[in-house]
Symmetry: C2
Subunit: 313 residues, 2 copies
């Protein structure tokens, strides 16, 4: 059983407009809502892979109901702690000239009482979980070391942990030594406050994190591919060359594939292949958190992994 | 029992931003959702007045659930026909300089099957209703003479009818001779395609509509006041001078008051006083569809109605 933790989910709304004019009345066309937030994408991808999933975190209001319904519809167990404020909606407005205006809501403020209730239930969920996946930003009110705390609780119950977030939440989370983190190259650079413009630099920073006790560090390099640094050394897989339909949620698809593979006991090499194939299949869908298993199977046949050992850096 | 018909309700979302920049990421502050749409405002105001209300129309999706919950919360019976597409959300973004950007969604498309199901239920609701109030725009898919059809069905069952809409829907609705319409001065001008810059012009147009068979024509003149043209002549009530908190939904408050008063069998003069007082009390609330009964009572004492007979025009 895989436990996914989404503390700050969102409804992703996309719409079109001829030209967005501030201070005026703007009429949208082709409005569509999708369940969003990194952990929700991970949940849905895991379900397509066939994993048993419990999805927890915070939801609230009528937008929360939409998220919970999507979670149940994909066949995962919905076990969210309810907040009073509704889940935020993020609006992406695409103008006729192709420019995109993002109008993002702040996540709702989570009070101490809700956090306490969540922690009690979270501990119970851990008893049924083999892996816990923590994805996305922390909502207001949740302390910056919260992921670290959740990771420590999971480790005490021998539940493996995967953390995918950025900034301070990632820095603090790393201190609790999750089994895997998956920063993208920008998140990795931000963590160290330095540019990482070469593969060697990326490898060096990944290995520094591994030396701090994070067993597996997977760095997404965008259209270049994925690097996994584990006890065997570096595994690098080039991304599959494709014309993407939508690249949003590709990192989440990779995280889901890694969690699924780790749960099966796959080697790092196989896990990385899965991550590249699922992520590539995800780029071919308009909607995040979806992919074609048939495409994944095709891609799995062509992914190549290049292995180097640590001392070669 | 008063039946309110909301064919195109909306979630009204208000939010603040420093400066809205097209093509960029914009982070909203102080986001708040309100149940919206003219018929929903009418429903809520009627409930505060103490009327028994059945609210019908079209809702759908998770936003529809929010509307239905608001209807039930105010104590009205929620009897909406469910559509597949979610109820639209209208976003009002207030910039730091005070300018407002409105981002409006199109109403969802209503299919013939849903319309047929609605008509069956509508006929049943009419059996329990004394007055039916039709408010707001028609969603896509609904024919432009739909209000006319609903009004004719109501009249066959001796249910009084009030129509508050604009443009073609109003023009077509008038043909079925509702008991009351409440255009604002702009809607009245648009109907005749001519400017109405004097009280005499307004009176003339109102009387033309009355001669076509609409028994009562109430024209809202914004901060000037309300004019009611009925079989007794013209009743004009000056608006109460107030610093408004929010003028959105004031027309709906007036419609609700007129419906309530007509249901009680009040004279035109008393109905008009109610409309002015409730509408004024509504301007003192941030939220549409709300008002203080205490304020209404205070205002009722100071509203003055000026009566002139038809031949004076």
């Amino acid at each position: 059983m895989i436990l996914t933790v989404s503390l700050n989910p969102a409804v992703d709304r996309t719409a079109e407009v001829d030209e967005l004019k501030p201070g005026c009345v703007n009429r949208l066309k082709h409005v569509k809502d999708y369940p969003g937030g990194k952990g929700i994408n991970v949940t849905r991808v895991l379900r397509i892979l066939g994993a048993d999933v419990i999805a927890t975190g915070f939801t609230g209001g009528y937008t929360g109901k939409f998220i919970e319904e999507a979670v149940r519809e994909c066949g995962a167990e919905s076990a969210f702690e309810e907040t009073k404020a509704p889940v935020r909606t993020n609006l992406n407005i695409i103008s006729a000239d192709g420019s995109v205006t993002e109008i993002l809501e702040p996540g709702s403020f989570i009070g101490e009482e809700v956090i306490s209730r969540f922690l009690v239930k979270y501990e119970e969920h851990l008893d049924r979980a083999d892996i816990a996946v923590f994805s996305g930003s922390l909502p207001q009110g949740v302390p910056v070391d919260f992921y670290g705390r959740l990771i420590s609780m999971a480790k005490k119950k021998n539940v493996k942990t995967i953390l995918d977030c950025s900034g301070e939440a990632l820095r603090e989370g790393i201190k609790a030594c999750p089994d895997l983190i998956k920063p993208n190259i920008k998140e990795l650079s931000d963590l160290f406050g330095q540019k990482t413009d070469s593969m060697e630099a990326v490898k060096g920073l990944a290995e520094m994190i591994r030396q701090e006790g994070v067993k597996n560090v997977c760095v997404s390099l965008g259209e270049k591919g994925l690097l996994l640094d584990d006890s065997d050394g570096y595994h690098f897989a080039e991304a599959i060359k494709l014309e993407p339909v939508n690249t949003v949620g590709c990192g989440d698809a990779a995280v889901a594939a890694l969690a699924y593979s780790f749960d099966r006991g796959d080697t790092g090499e196989i896990a990385l292949k899965m991550a590249v194939a699922v992520s590539a299949a995800n780029t071919q869908e308009r909607e995040s958190g979806k992919f074609s298993v048939q495409l994944m199977d095709e891609y799995l046949k062509i992914v190549k992994v290049n292995h180097t050992i640590h001392r070669e850096v």
